[in-house]
Each structure stands twice: as C-alpha cells, then as structure tokens.
Symmetry: C2
Subunit: 283 residues, 2 copies
C-alpha cells in the first residue's frame, strides 16, 4: 500500500491514518476534506503527509471514506467511478444499509468494503484523532462476499494488524442492532442533557452538584450533530423503535413509582444489574 487517500480527516479517518502510517511507514497519506482548517491541522499534526483533491483518488491503492453518512452515499459511487481496478475503497460509517444499497449494482462494487469500527469519542476533527482509538476494538464488516477476494484480504490484513476484532454481519442486522447498542445511547444522553439544561440553565451554581455519574451518562451529548443527524435520518425506522421501547420502560418505571411499588422498582434495577456480566471484557 503506497498511496492512501483519507476523505474526511476527523476522529475516525485521522485515527485510521495514524495506524496505517505506523504499519506502512513507506505509504504516503493524502488528506481530502472540504474543511481547509481541518486539512491544515491534519498536516501540522502529521496525520497526513499531503493534501489532495478528490480526482486524485484515481492513483489510490486505498481510499478511506470517513465523512457523515448522508454525504457518503453521494460520494461513494463517484469515487468508485474514478478508482482503478486494484483500489480498495472502505467506508467507516455508523449505518450500513443505505451505503450498501447505493452501490449494489455499481460496476466497481467489488472494489468496496463496508465497515464500521465500533470506536469513537464525543470529540471530532483531526485534533480528536489518536492511535489507540482502534486497537482492541471491534470492526463490523458487511457484505464481505461482494468484495473482491484480494481486496477483502487486503482490508482484513490491515484491520488485524491494527489489532481490531472482525465481525461479519449483514447491513440490515447491523443497523437494527446498532440502533440499540449505540444510537439509542446517544439520544438518551442528549435528552438527559436537554432535560437538565432546560431545568437548571438559570441556576449555574447547580452544576456544582454534577458528579461523575451525571458526567458519564451525559458524555455523549457532547457529540457532533453534524455527524449524528444523518445517522438518525438513515436509520430512522430502527431508531424510532428503540425510542419507543425506551420511553415505554421509563414510563413503566415512573408508574411503578407513582403506585409506590418500590419492590418492583428494586426488581427492575436488580435484573438490569445483569449488564455487569454483559459488559465484562469490553474495552
């Protein structure tokens, strides 16, 4: 791998660039981004070696598409139109159905691999990128069978060398389950933040009462709306289902409190403590 093009040089794109550079010191990492400030930051942080334009991807060995998911579905077919037969193009978006659908009949479909590294922080942009974001995390790969053998191997080798666990899934199952495992957490956190701000915004002193519990539960409410709005839009049906389940459970909890059924409240919490077992081993 010599010529690497990262389109969208933010948290994930930047962290991937750092890992690729470590594994392939001979590679030249080109950054493409419609935010000139991000490009300059990425250069000065040595995340990329040079700036490039979208047309340059015709010279690429690897293209990483790490931009918001609504833009991905527009750009990916155009990128596939431009690349050579040998080029591997991957995306790293948080939704997988739409991106797989949009290139399903593309003549260069076999150059593309749909991936979703389960890793992130509440920060964005090249300054948020760091080497350790990806090792020991899971990378979900969709429709692997639609990618050319050689390019599958190239991608898997890269992820395994970074230290990622690979899991294969179809795009519909990915989007359904990720709505529960990730998208709902973001909304629950954003709405927790909103609820508290709405109530307490005129009482700034009150935020001295915030402890580490509030802070960790509300952490995701710092996330980028530019990134998350298109995710919720693409995964609308699944996300609405998770919200309905969540609101139903909260309403039931409230009703148990109103009925003074604190034995049931206790049991609800005791059963949910099971999450300890489930989360054991997650980095």
């Amino acid at each position: 791998m010599k010529n690497i093009y990262i389109i969208g040089i933010g948290l994930i794109g930047g962290s991937l660039a750092l890992n690729i550079k470590k594994l392939h010191p001979e590679a030249v990492i080109y950054g493409i981004d419609n935010n000139p400030k991000h490009l300059e930051e990425a250069l000065s942080l040595h995340i990329i070696d040079a700036k490039a334009e979208i047309e340059d991807v015709k010279k690429a060995d690897l293209v990483v598409l790490s931009i918001p998911v609504d833009t991905s579905v527009i750009e990916l077919p155009k990128i596939l139109d431009m690349v050579s037969d040998e080029t591997l193009v991957i995306d790293v978006g948080s939704t997988k159905s739409d991106i797989c659908k949009v290139v399903d009949k593309h003549p260069k479909r076999r150059n593309f691999l749909a991936t979703h590294p389960i890793s992130g922080t509440e920060f964005s942009g090249p300054k948020a990128a760091f080497m350790e974001l990806l090792p020991n995390k899971t990378n979900i790969i969709c429709e692997v069978e639609k990618t050319a053998f050689k390019l599958q191997q190239k991608a898997i080798d890269l992820f395994v060398n970074i230290g990622m666990r690979i899991r294969y899934m179809n795009p519909e199952a990915h989007d359904k389950h990720i709505a529960y495992m990730s998208h709902l957490s973001h909304i629950s956190s954003f709405m927790l933040g909103k609820t508290v701000i709405d109530k307490e915004k005129n009482e700034r002193d009150i935020f001295d009462m915030a402890g580490s519990g509030f802070e960790s539960t509300v952490r995701l409410a710092k996330s980028s709306p530019e990134m998350w709005t298109p995710i919720f839009e693409q995964n609308k049906i699944n996300v609405i289902e998770t919200l309905e389940d969540y609101i139903k459970n909260l309403t039931q909890f409230k009703e148990l409190m109103q009925q003074d059924d604190f034995d049931a409240i206790f049991r609800e919490m005791k059963n949910t403590n099971y999450i300890k077992q489930i989360l054991k081993g997650i980095a």
Copy 2:
C-alpha cells in the same frame, strides 16, 4: 478526634474512613455494619481498626452514618439519643429532606450535620472504597445553622482537609436539584440497560457491538438497587417530575424523527452541546 465510628462501611463510609485515618493517624476507626462479611473485609483492608456495636457510639467523637437512606431515618434519632454532647454525627445520604425532618425536634439536633458528598462509583461495599474518591469533590451541607458552632467547625475542617469543596443548601432545594443532577441519570441508565437487555438478551454476540459510548451511558445501571430504591422512594415527587420532563423530551425527539424534521433534530443536539461548557471543570 480519637474515636470514630463508621456505621455502614461501604463505598462512601469506607472512603471517608481512609481519609480520616490519613489526616488523624492517632484516631481509632471503629466499623459497625450488619453485614459481617463487609466488616471482615474492612478489617483486612485496614479501612477500620476494629469492629464495634451500635451501643459503643456513646464513646464516639465522630459518628458517620453511611447506610441506605431508609435505614438512616430510623437509626439517626436512636444514635443521637446515645451520643455525648460533644459528639459530631454526620450522615452522607443522597436525600436530605427526610433525614433533616426526622431529627428537627430532636434534643440533640445540634450534634447532627446533614451532608452529601457528590462522589461515588457504580460499585459498593468496602472493596469499592478508595482514598481518592473524596478529594476535589463537592460536599453539600444542609441546615448548617442547626448544628452547634463547634461541631460545624469540626466537620468543615475535616472536609476541607480532605480537599472537598463545600456548598450550603437547604434540604428541599438539594432534593429538587439532585433529582435532575443525579437521580435521573441513574434511571436513564438503568432503563437504557433494560431496553437493550430485553431486546438483545438472546443474541449474546450482539454485545460485541457495544462500544465505549454505550458503556459509559449504561455504567450507572451497575449501581446497587439496595442503595437506590430507598433514594427514589424518599425523593419520589422530585424524581417523578424529572422523569416526566425526560419522557416528554424523548417523545418530542421521536416525533420530530417521525415528521422527518431533521433540521429540528440537528438544532436540539446543537443546543444540548452546551453541556460541554457546563461540565468544564468537573472532575
């Protein structure tokens, strides 16, 4: 301070014991707990110097009451009955109205100080205790004017020497605001855990999809139901109000999605990003 009695030698009681021992190496720390295993653990971890019985508090210079809040309101009056005129009794519970009410007319009211250290983790028991839990955290003190001057000073000196910030508040305001800043976070996290477990319990593989975002948002769902059920019960009215606000905001978010109003979804999240400014500086 020579004879210190910690009633309930868990996360907060144990962490306080460790800090007191560091500041007052000459003090003898006695542990009282109705869980014999916890007492043995606290002894072997050198959190306490000796076991004691509740009647021994008559010899105490300081009594720390760190048990579930439903038991606190029963035990506190009895403890005040037993202690000497010079004894400082503090509680560290997460609700403050009921405990202040229950001793309001007690002849030894001036021996008591109501406190709430805003610190904790999702773990409990003496093994969860650690020195660093309390320094640099906020301690909320209620009805300070009802405590004897000398004992006020004794308590404040202790908390300041531990490195805590002190904030004064009336119990009703404490309970109202802490419902938003802490109790709601716990319920939002428990119900997130429940929602995901209900949906995914038969698909254990799915939990490979859990990232750090899910993990931090659901962390509080590991908390102790024994501790939290009585908190929700004592603070029922305030907690139900926060739940109604939270459910309303989630429902509105869901409806905006159903209406495809993703501009409004974007604005909701952008406005809530304000939480970044608010949380700056919280340890």
